[in-house]
């Protein structure tokens, strides 16, 4: 058992730590800047400890679901159709317990890594720890918002934390706001996710409009358990539209096609931020939301098919774009989008427990890969893989960590990624969800294709970064490719391994990336570990290990690795100077399918500026302003015309009086 106050503490501790860290922004407390990092880590560590206690509480037979729910906002009489009530509360079930543990745990490791990464050169302006207070404040609050999102009992409460996560991701991506690219990337992330959130808001509105269906059964239309309980009883259209609206929000947050454009740009933030937000937690919010609302999706084959197709398409397209990227963080960003596609694919074929399983293993190995990329940057001060190479000679720990992360990402047995990816594909093959079987087959093919591409780009990353000869790092980057502001952020190449505060979190994550698959969800009982532990814990039905699926995906993965190695041997891994048809494809993919171009030029400039905004501008100037002007014109000129009647001539007035008398007389006479 766990007390309610302890669960609130999971949210409150990082929040309070963020407030304390922010105090170091005061000029008087500037000398304490370094301590803000430790305060933030303590807060998140406390949240992690409480999360473990919460996880332990949900393992028991009397797994408490929710706690006392408090009324937050009441309009009218909540039991009648005229009013409604918004509540706040905590929903602690296996799903949220697993999620808070992962979020707080990964966040803690990333913050420890940041102690080393965010430290500036000793002679930097404001001292070596000048960035600490602001950075750790944002990180703490971001973690608190994410934990609040996961624990929310009410969809509106969830939406509030959802938007807070968006806000802090904006602040963190734009952490180096003096760099125009970072400011633009932050704005882009905020706006693009907002498009998805609009769908989420419509879903909330739709629930509100159909609240009578809930109230008839004594349920609250916004409380998550009530929605899930009412899902089988709702009319089909309601479930479909609400599910599609929620999917839109999840697509924005999880960077699914076609709202995937913000995530690669979001790599402008500090690398640990990318690691936390854009690999392990924030983008997982979309997957979590769909998993949380899954019984609702299960009522609608349309919504499930949409989830599966979005996921399958994203997995392939993002993997293809990762193949051609040269920026190590961009490769990882596209890889994240691609892996999130796998999770949506799993959700779409009805296996949400498997999606959460993949979310966990992905959080470990992707976070590891990002931290390794940060470690590499710490040495060579660039993210461009074309100027790396041969780094394994002086960064052996980072090299091993990257290799483990890459193998796990590719899905080589027995690493964590193998088990989760295999279960995703096996679920698509089994196709026993509520969606169409044909869709499951289609996304299975897409997923298999993505496996091959994943293997290629992952080992392209490893080989270009750590093998071959060293190509000079930041010192070799042509001056015209350097952003002037960036020069102050970077130093020069120093051929040394990163400090231990950066290596320790990587070691922990590497260990998890190896064992998490077996430890969490082994296909067979293994000593003290039960078979399919996570799936059963989340209330799912486990399917048997499918050697055929595993065999095919492993062969595809090995083929991808082999191709990368062969290309490396011939020295063509940078993918420049390709023959004709491939160069066109390369340019298309490197241009990110021209989606940014499409959005910017066609939708924003043509449709919005020249179409919609032009029309509304015209309507505002001519119709709205015109109506107002007309009223004024009538008053002014009408008054002037009437004023002409006032001549001051007493005889003219007399005529008027006489005419009036005649009119009244005639009315009086003709009335009868």
């Amino acid at each position: 058992m766990i007390s309610e106050a302890a669960v609130w503490g999971i949210i409150a501790l990082p929040l309070a730590a963020g407030v304390l860290a922010a105090l170091a922004l005061l000029p008087a407390l500037r000398p304490l800047a370094r301590a803000s990092g430790y305060v933030a880590i303590l807060g998140v560590a406390g949240a992690f400890a409480l999360s473990l206690a919460a996880l332990d509480a949900t393992l028991g037979p009397d797994a408490a679901a929710g706690f006392g729910v408090r009324s937050w906002l009441t309009v009218g009489d909540p039991s009648s159709a005229g009013g409604f009530e918004v509540t706040v509360g905590l929903l602690l079930d296996p799903l949220s317990a697993v999620m808070v543990t992962v979020v707080s745990g990964v966040s803690m490791l990333v913050m420890i890594f940041s102690l080393g990464y965010m430290r500036k050169e000793p002679g930097a302006e404001g001292g070596a720890w000048a960035d600490y207070p602001r950075y750790f404040t944002y990180m703490s609050w971001f973690t608190a918002a994410m934990l609040g999102l996961v624990l929310a009992y009410n969809l509106i409460q969830l939406f509030v934390f959802w938007e807070l996560v968006g806000l802090f991701s904006y602040l963190l991506i734009g952490f180096w706001y003096h760099r125009p690219a970072a400011a633009a990337a932050a704005k882009k992330a905020f706006i693009v996710t907002r498009i998805g959130d609009f769908g989420f808001m419509l879903a909330l509105l739709y629930l509100y409009l159909h609240r009578a269906e809930f109230l008839a059964q004594g349920l609250n239309p916004f409380e998550i358990p009530d929605i899930l309980a009412a899902a089988p009883l709702l009319s089909a259209g309601v479930a479909t539209w609400v599910a599609l609206g929620i999917l839109a929000g999840a697509m924005g947050k999880s960077a699914q096609f076609p709202l995937n454009t913000w995530l690669p740009d979001a790599m402008e933030g500090p690398t640990p931020v990318s690691s936390l937000i854009h690999a392990a937690t924030m983008v997982a919010a979309g997957v979590f939301l769909v998993a949380r609302m899954f019984p609702l999706f299960e009522e609608s084959a349309v919504a499930l098919n949409a989830v599966a197709i979005v996921g399958g398409t994203t997995a392939v397209l993002a993997a293809a774009m990762a193949v051609v990227a040269n920026d190590i963080k961009r490769v990882l960003a596209f890889s994240t989008v691609s892996q999130l596609g796998y999770m949506f694919l799993a959700l779409g074929v009805g296996a949400w427990q498997i999606a959460i399983f993949h979310l966990l293993t992905h959080a470990f190995f992707k976070c590891l890969l990002f931290l390794a990329a940060g470690s590499v940057h710490h040495s060579v001060h660039t993210f461009d893989m074309r100027y790396m190479g041969g780094l394994r000679r002086w960064m052996p720990v980072t090299y091993v960590a990257t290799l483990i992360g890459a193998l796990s990402l590719v899905g080589i047995a027995p690493l964590a990624g193998f088990w989760s990816k295999d279960e995703v594909l096996a679920a698509a093959w089994a196709a026993d969800g509520a969606g169409d079987v044909g869709v499951s087959r289609l996304v299975l093919v897409l997923g298999m294709a993505a496996v091959f591409m994943t293997a290629f780009y992952a080992f392209r990353l490893v080989l270009m970064t750590f093998h071959g000869r060293f190509r000079g790092g930041i010192d070799a980057v042509p001056t015209d490719e350097l952003i002037p502001d960036e020069v102050s952020l970077v130093g020069h190449v120093h051929r040394a391994e990163s400090p231990w505060v950066m290596l320790l979190p990587m070691a922990v994550l590497a260990l998890l990336a190896v064992v998490a698959g077996v430890a969490l969800n082994a296909v067979g009982a293994l000593g003290p570990l039960p078979a399919h532990g996570l799936t059963h814990f989340l209330g799912g039905v486990a399917s048997d290990f499918d050697p055929a699926i595993a065999g095919v995906s492993t062969v595809l993965a090995l083929a991808g690795i082999g191709l990368a190695v062969a290309a490396h041997r011939r020295g063509v891994l940078a993918l420049t100077d390709l023959p004709r048809p491939w160069s066109v494809l390369h340019r298309f993919l490197a241009g990110r399918l021209y989606m940014d171009h499409l959005y910017e030029t066609l939708i924003v400039r043509r449709v919005l500026y020249r179409g919609l905004f032009f029309a509304t501008d015209w309507a505002d100037r001519r119709l709205v302003d015109g109506t107002v002007d007309l009223v004024g014109w009538v008053g002014r000129n009408g008054g002037r015309a009437v004023a002409q009647l006032q001549t001051g001539q007493v005889q003219v007035y007399g005529v008027g009086v006489f005419m009036g008398v005649i009119v009244m007389l005639m009315l009086f006479m003709f009335q009868r």
């Binding site: 001549t647 001051g648 001539q649 005889q651 007035y653």
Partner: protein, 114 residues
Amino acid sequence: MLERLLVLSVVLFCIGLYGVLSRRHIIAVLMSIELMFNAVNVALVAFSRYVTPADLGAPGGLAENARYVLTGQGLAVFVIVAAAAEVALGLALVIALMRRTDTLDITAVNLMRR
């Protein structure tokens, strides 16, 4: 006889009205107003003479208690008094106007416009 008297009254009233609305000399306008007053007086006297209240001859009616019903004539006397007062006031205004503007043309005066 009532009809003839009323026709006389209407003719007088219309002549007076025409004079009020069309004459430019202010004294002529005042004279026309007098015509209209007297048209009204003719009507009052005529009605008083020929129109008898319905209960006048009834048992216990007004005729048993009053020898003469002279309401119309009395009203006419009041009108004459009021007309005399009005002429006195009007002529005083004419003199004031004459002193101020040096004209008796009514169309030249548009002080009410201000």
